[in-house]
């Protein structure tokens, strides 16, 4: 958290927004089961801390529009966990039904769509990405050793725009994309980024 103390705005990527919102109560008979993503608790603690310190969370319009697809991936991933299947009463070998996945998906999406109504969150619709900078960023990642990307894919257009958004506004970017955070120092040295932090590397305490 110390690393974010000098900034009034913190940029979240689409995944961070999804993790923050992925908190769904499901009724299973007389029991209520709360389903979260693996990163939800950490992300919520971080967000709460930011809010408590009068920081604001922001993102680009294109990243906010990408929430739907990130959300789909997060739901598919989480609902396939045996631990979650068990909590929801599915026997070994049974999988969570599509309607339950859809229920979770729509619930998290509803939460995400309401985020801009909070005073601590905003979507920057005025941001215009710098075309030359995006091209340079794309070339930069094309030259990267695949090992640097880890399990992540090469950053897409929306991710590159987020990096550029950070440079233009001089705000730090919090991401769950190892491909970007592993290259943070190099990007900063090349003046292509400001500070980029991997979500789980930030300690909310």
């Amino acid at each position: 958290m110390q690393r974010l103390k000098d900034f009034s705005y913190i940029i979240y990527d689409a995944n961070c927004i999804v993790y923050h919102c992925f908190f769904v109560d499901l009724q299973v008979g007389s029991a209520t089961v709360t389903v979260t993503s693996r990163f939800t608790i950490h992300t919520r603690q971080l967000t709460d801390k930011l809010i408590a310190n009068n920081k604001k969370v922001t993102t680009t319009q294109s990243a906010f529009d990408e929430v739907r697809e990130c959300l789909y991936a997060a739901v598919e991933d989480r609902m396939a966990y045996r631990e979650v299947e068990h909590q929801l009463g599915y026997a070994q070998g049974e999988h969570v039904s599509e309607q339950v996945k859809l229920k979770v998906l729509l619930s998290v999406e509803k939460h995400a769509q309401k985020l801009p109504t909070n005073s601590w969150f905003s979507v920057d619709a005025n941001f215009i990405p710098d075309g030359n900078a995006i091209k340079t960023l794309r070339d930069f990642f094309a030259r990267q050793n695949p090992l640097t990307l880890g399990k992540s894919k090469s950053p897409g257009q929306v991710d590159l725009e987020l990096v550029n958004f950070g440079v233009q506004r001089q705000w730090p970017l919090v991401t769950n994309d190892r491909g970007i955070s592993n290259s943070a120092e190099q990007l900063r040295t090349a003046n292509l980024a400001t500070f980029i932090y991997y979500l789980m590397d930030l300690n909310p305490a």
Partner: protein, 281 residues
């Protein structure tokens, strides 16, 4: 037309043409004459309804289709045209139909058209074949022509009981659900598979409902099914592109369907669903 057959309706798009409701597009029994029942569709948004036919020898199917009337709409000329089916070729998985007729093209005079189309056919089980409308071919291929509407073939040998109607819809729903499960994963793919899964559960619950409730909901579920089925056919060759579509109108219809199911206490809205209430297959 010199030869008028007992066709109740078809893809009749002109305002003055008789139209059938969704309810009427449900296969129904019409005497013992093998009546073909077809539904209508709005201009520019062809309705796709599966037809159902008890498995019969191929010659039986051909015999019932030949000479039947097909009404289609030429978008380019903005004219409806009535055709008579001249030839039918029944394959293992397809049904090819050739029809001819005359289009009144106004100052261009009368244009004689020959239309060839084919329908996909799937053997659902030992006694049921599903037909779907498929792309028209030859000179009718392309955006100028609205696809054929539904071609519902009723089994002339028996009446459809409410249970059979439900079972039929359940089977269709299952087929389409399985189809979308195989598509590349995306928000839209889950919207389609999840909502069809919901419909399957609602149909299961409907079995214990009064007939009037069944009638009301079946038409709505079938209508929703038709829209999803249309998407499956439209994007069959480009499945991955479905993720980029704006399916808000489909989502809105799904919302209305949930409202309808919940209002008659058949099945709760997804939002209020208790997982313990999901019926087993």
């Amino acid at each position: 037309m010199a030869h008028q057959t007992p066709v109740v309706g078809n893809l009749a798009l002109a305002d003055a043409w008789p139209r059938l409701s969704d309810t009427e597009s449900v296969p129904t029994h019409h005497g013992n004459d093998g009546t073909i029942i077809c539904s209508t569709a709005a201009a520019g948004s062809p309705k796709t309804v599966w037809g159902i036919y008890s498995a019969k020898p191929k010659v039986f199917i051909s015999g019932h289709l030949e000479g039947q009337q097909l009404d289609i709409f030429n978008k380019w000329l903005e004219l409806p045209a009535t055709h008579i089916i001249r030839d039918v070729l029944v394959g293992e998985t397809s049904l090819e139909v050739e029809a001819s007729g005359i289009v009144d093209a106004g100052f261009f005079g009368n244009l004689r058209q020959t239309v060839a189309t084919h329908f996909n056919a799937f053997l659902l089980d030992t006694n049921c074949i599903l037909f779907s409308n498929e792309n028209t071919r030859d000179e009718w291929e392309g955006p100028e022509v609205t696809k054929f509407g539904s071609l519902c073939l009723s089994d002339a040998s028996k009446s459809w009981t409410p249970e059979e109607r439900l079972e039929t819809l359940r089977i269709q729903m299952r087929e389409l659900f399985d189809e979308f499960l195989k598509w590349p994963g995306s928000y839209n793919q889950l919207l389609l598979s999840g909502s069809l899964d919901y419909c399957r559960s609602a149909i299961n619950k409907l079995k214990n409902s009064p007939v009037d409730v069944q009638d009301k909901l079946i038409s709505q579920i079938r209508s929703y099914y038709n829209q999803c089925y249309g998407l499956s056919k439209q994007y069959q060759q480009t499945k991955s592109t479905i993720r980029r579509l704006n399916l808000q109108s489909l989502q809105d219809r799904f919302e209305l369907l949930q409202e309808a199911c919940a209002s008659v206490h058949v099945y709760p809205r997804l939002e209020d669903l208790d997982l313990a209430d999901i019926p087993a297959e």
